[in-house]
């Protein structure tokens, strides 16, 4: 196992460079959930708009009921019914919404005629839509009762407010046994794919560039060690390194999100781990393929960065797939990391473990494995071609080159 041990030594010598990538990854996985926290928050808080009612119809139970209804859901701002005052208040956002009930409003409403209410809302504000909605709810409910004859206007207004104040009890039920997993862990797992790919490419290319150097290949071929044994020992080292990378990143994830994962459904956690294991295998195949083309130690970092960043960008690791245009999305489907991200998104969005819901996840993982097999085959073909080609020795300076 001399070759295997030497491969390990070579990787150990490059551990500093790899540790640097690891630290950058660690920083990103800590910072990114904080930066994106606002976009992903699921907490709800009630918005209370400032509103003003200018009542030119006189005090009627209908208009007073409307003001009371709005007052329960917003902050009432009292203003004089003067144009300048209203303009200033709207401009300086002292009030978000001004509703002007015209003269004859009550009569027109109960007679079934057209009711024209003037409203002024501050621009680019969701509060305006909210108050619009509240007014429509109140008036539609009042119209539902029709004429106040028989029950009286005050009773009608009270009934409308009572109706609209009724609350529906909503009970949230989660599938599975566990607690939800945070968005932070989703981001961690997205970034993990980048880390896995770049680290494994760096490790594998370090090994292959050392052993595939033409002079070194010639020297090794002179030895009594069979080339097959030499290749197998290198592959074994690649597999071991990949396993080490996967275990390290998984353990790190458990350290960072351990409490959440302990409370989460174990089947979901298992699926996430399985998906990361699949991307690790995929990364090993990508690394085998990429390292076939790496000829010098200098090009290793460039190639590793180019391939890992390219695949992860197209795969939706850094930018959510939702933001991709149709063309880019189509292109990304031909990259393996897209299927990793898809599987991950589907796992985080799981509502049950039924076949119909799980099918897209299995399909995405299977697609990754197909990519893995294809890359391995391609790497083997290229490797065999390099081994058999005398041209691979061409960079060794011989007399004929001199």
């Amino acid at each position: 196992m001399k070759v295997f041990k030497t491969c390990n030594t070579i990787i150990k010598r490059r551990i500093t460079a790899m540790a640097l990538y690891f630290l950058i990854f660690l920083a990103l996985t800590v910072i990114m959930p904080i930066l994106t926290a606002d976009q992903h928050t699921l907490d709800f808080f009630e918005m209370k708009p400032n509103f003003t009612v200018i009542n030119r119809d006189g005090d009627t139970p209908l208009s007073e009921g409307l003001a009371a209804y709005l007052g329960a859901r917003g902050n009432k701002v009292v203003l004089d019914d003067r144009l300048e005052t209203l303009q200033d208040a709207s401009f300086y956002r002292a009030t978000d919404y001004i509703i002007i009930l015209p003269q004859g409003f009550r009569d027109a409403f109960f007679s079934g005629g057209t009711v024209k209410i003037k409203t002024v809302a501050t621009t680019d504000s969701a509060k305006g839509f909210y108050v619009d909605m509240l007014i429509n709810q109140y008036l539609n409910q009042a119209r539902f009762y029709g004429s106040p004859d028989g029950m009286g206007e005050e009773a009608l207004a009270a009934a409308v407010i009572r109706d609209l104040s009724a609350e529906t009890r909503v009970e949230t039920k989660r599938f599975g046994a566990g607690a939800p997993i945070s968005t932070g862990f989703l981001i961690y797992n997205r970034m993990l794919s980048y880390m896995v790919i770049i680290l494994i490419i760096l490790c594998v290319s370090n090994i292959t560039s050392a052993f595939r150097r033409p002079d070194m290949r010639m020297r090794n071929l002179c030895s009594p060690l069979k080339p097959r044994s030499m290749s197998l020992q290198q592959i074994l080292c690649g597999v071991l390194v990949s396993a080490a990378v996967w275990v390290s990143l998984t353990v790190l994830g458990f350290i960072m999100y351990g409490s959440e994962l302990a409370a989460a459904d174990r089947r979901t956690v298992g699926l996430i781990l399985l998906n990361t294991l699949v991307i690790t295998l995929l990364a090993l195949s990508v690394a085998s393929l990429v390292s076939s083309f790496i000829r010098s130690a200098n090009s290793q970092n460039a190639a590793a960065n180019f391939v890992s960043l390219g695949l992860c960008f197209l795969g939706g690791v850094f930018v959510p797939l939702d933001l991709f245009g149709e063309g880019l999305l189509m292109a990304s489907r031909f990259t393996p990391v897209y299927w990793y991200s898809t599987a991950l998104d589907n796992i985080f969005a799981l509502t049950s473990f039924e076949w119909g819901v799980m099918a897209p996840i299995w399909q995405a993982m299977l697609t990754q494995l197909i990519f893995t097999a294809a890359f391995f085959c391609l790497a083997l073909v290229i490797g065999k071609h390099i081994n058999q080609s005398e041209k691979s020795f061409s960079s060794v300076q011989t007399e004929l080159d001199a």
Binding site: R13, M216, L221, P224, F393, T398, E399, L400
Partner: protein
């Protein structure tokens, strides 16, 4: 140009360790080896001498089965040499023309790695590694990475990696290229030591002085062919030049040069760059004759030297061109 083959006393009658018959190797249109023949006997330091591009490295790569060849046979230790003949490979040590070591490993790790390809037992390997380090004088650099070593030390490391497992047959392909004189002497002395310890050595170089002082038998190669083989004495005996005279002369009249050329036995006399060069058989009288002619012709001359023929003269006479070319 005819092939001249001599047979000296060194290793005569010993069994051949390397036997190459009618080897032909082509790179496209270029014929790198043209019916190349070679026989190296046990215990020899066999030198392959030739200018760049003569086919020395190609011959070695074919012998080691690193290159496929179109025609011919190669046998090492009496067995046909194939790329999967691992039993034979185990008995061979190779020092490549290019320094083939891992940049990521230290001196001791590199030697241990290459030794480990031949010797699986750890304790034995450690002893052999230490021995190779001492042999090549790398004791002070055990923990150094190759990039921290000078060119000469790198070459020594390259040699240590090739010989650590104590092979019976060692191929050394231009091991002293770009090496300072001190390291070169160290390397050459090391090769002699290996040979004294029983190793058969095949040594390629385009430095004729090196080959001349080191090798027991020499093959001169040109254009993929062996043009002459033998001990250095045998090779020198193959040519007419027995002695070469050089005289510094400010002005040499044409008639005086003609008179020198007319002397019986002097087969070449040239004058250029204020220097007269004459070649003739080594019989001890031609030098005096030439100096007499110069004196009679009132030609003033400075330093005069006479030397025996070199391998370059052998190469020049056989191929019609300088070995340095």
């Amino acid at each position: 140009m005819a092939e001249i083959t001599g047979r000296g006393p060194n290793g005569a009658g010993a069994s051949p360790v390397i036997k190459v018959r009618s080897l032909v190797k082509r790179y496209g249109e270029l014929v790198a080896l043209d019916h190349f023949e070679l026989e190296v006997r046990r215990g020899e330091i066999f030198g392959l001498l030739g200018p760049n591009g003569s086919g020395k490295t190609t011959a070695i790569n074919c012998m080691l089965s690193l290159l496929k060849y179109g025609k011919g046979e190669v046998s090492l230790f009496g067995e046909p040499m194939k790329s999967d003949n691992y039993a034979v490979k185990k008995r061979i040590g190779v020092v490549m023309q290019n320094v083939a070591v891992f940049n990521e490993l230290t001196v001791v790790e590199n030697i241990d790695y290459f030794c480990g390809l031949y010797v699986p037992e750890k304790a034995k390997r450690k002893a052999l590694t230490d021995e190779a380090i001492a042999f090549t004088g790398l004791d002070d650099y055990r923990k150094f990475l190759p990039k921290k070593l000078s060119g000469g030390l790198l070459r020594r490391l390259n040699i240590a990696c090739g010989i650590a497992h104590k092979p019976e047959l060692i191929f050394l392909d231009e091991p002293t290229v770009a090496v300072d004189p001190q390291s070169r002497n160290h390397i050459l002395e090391g090769i002699r030591e290996l040979n004294r310890n029983g190793a058969t050595v095949v040594y390629t170089s385009h430095y004729m002085e090196e080959v001349e002082q080191l090798c027991t038998r020499i093959m001169i190669m040109d254009k993929g062919k062996a043009v002459a083989t033998g001990t250095k004495e045998e090779l020198k005996a193959m040519i007419r030049t027995g002695e070469k005279l050089t005289a510094e002369i400010y002005d040499l009249p044409e008639n005086v040069l003609g008179e020198i050329r007319g002397v019986d036995g002097i087969f070449q006399a040239d004058y250029s760059d204020n220097r007269l060069t004459a070649r003739y058989p080594a019989d001890g009288r031609h030098m005096i004759t030439i100096l007499d002619i110069l004196r009679r012709g009132n030609v003033a001359f400075g330093r005069v030297s006479s030397e025996p023929p070199t391998l370059n003269d052998v190469f020049l006479e056989i191929t019609g061109k300088e070995l340095k070319d």
